[in-house]
Amino acid sequence: MEPALLDALREAVAQALDGLDGVVALRADRGGGVPHLFRSKEELSALALSPKYPLPAVLRLIQEAHPESKLGIVCRGCEERGLIEMAKRNQLKLDPVRVIGLACTAEEARECRCEKPYPDVLVNTCVGEKVAGVTNELVQEFLTRSTAERLDFWQRQFAKCMKCYGCRNACPQCACPECSLEEELWIKKGEVPPPFPVFHLLRAMHTVGKCVGCRECELSCPAHIPLTLIYTLLRRDVKELFGYESGRSVTEEPPLVTELEG
């Protein structure tokens, strides 16, 4: 199935390239794929589908350096949601961006425990067959535990943290020039593991209304801390308290930016 999917994506990117300066997508490299700005159709023989990388952050980087550029980007469901949230915080301009949608396979959706494994807000159609979202069994199971058990679980998990800042660095939504996780007021320099629970809850707090569940943080964690478990529950809370879902619409305003009362 994958060669056909790749051909279809190549076709879509080739078509989009006609009116654009370049398209951000994955380029095949030594058994994997890596973000690349495709500028010509000749390059597209090296187009790749996986592994997933934070492409919206790459788009932001290029757009910052070339504000007048007209760029395209290959987006999976989470990446589309990411673009939308980034645009709401002036991280990038959506207007000149052409989105080429790519649906995740059932296997990919399962692996990411993704609730919506396809884009459909910025695009009408997408490459690949849309599959239904997955119920997050990890979260379901976690919610059956008592508060004491959960506290114990997180204490053990966060004790493994080696403070690489990979979760923050990999996160396309994390873009503050000054990061609270580097503030001496909260986090002392040179201490590993970082203080429990301040370090991780500080980061969790800052994902509220922004996290789109792309899982880049978890995938980059050398200690295998299941970070999206916390962020998924936070997304649930934001939805219940404010009726807000990150990346659902371009016009909805994120609650922590606009209102203080639930």
Binding site: G22, G32, V34, H36, L37, P51, A65, C164, G166, P222
Partner: protein, 135 residues
Amino acid sequence: MEYRNVPTTCIYCGAGCGLYLQVLDGKVVGVLPNKAHPISQGKLCVKGWNAHSFIYHEDRLTKPRIKMHGKWQEANWEEALELTATRLTEIRNAYGPDAIAVLASAKCTNEENYLLQKLTRQILGTNNIDHCARL
């Protein structure tokens, strides 16, 4: 307008994690973990994530320097190598080869480090060679 990723190996320790240098318009602007790398599998430590930061650092030496009368002065490679060879020979002749130690670097290539240990053992005649990657 150009954006590409160049695969390389982290220069900080012996683990040899795979990373990509993000190159924007000919300039290295950041690091991405190599998710297909058999050793690091898309993970990096805090050093790996910042492995690019010394490239354009103002403290980085790009020319050899010689300390004369207590002050560093820029020199060319000819002068620097000449002085190094002369002094190493003098020290070896006066105090023996084990009075010399050599520190290699993880920021050099494997081949450069091989040549350095060859120089140390064969020419200088000591086994005193070590490196910053032995963390």
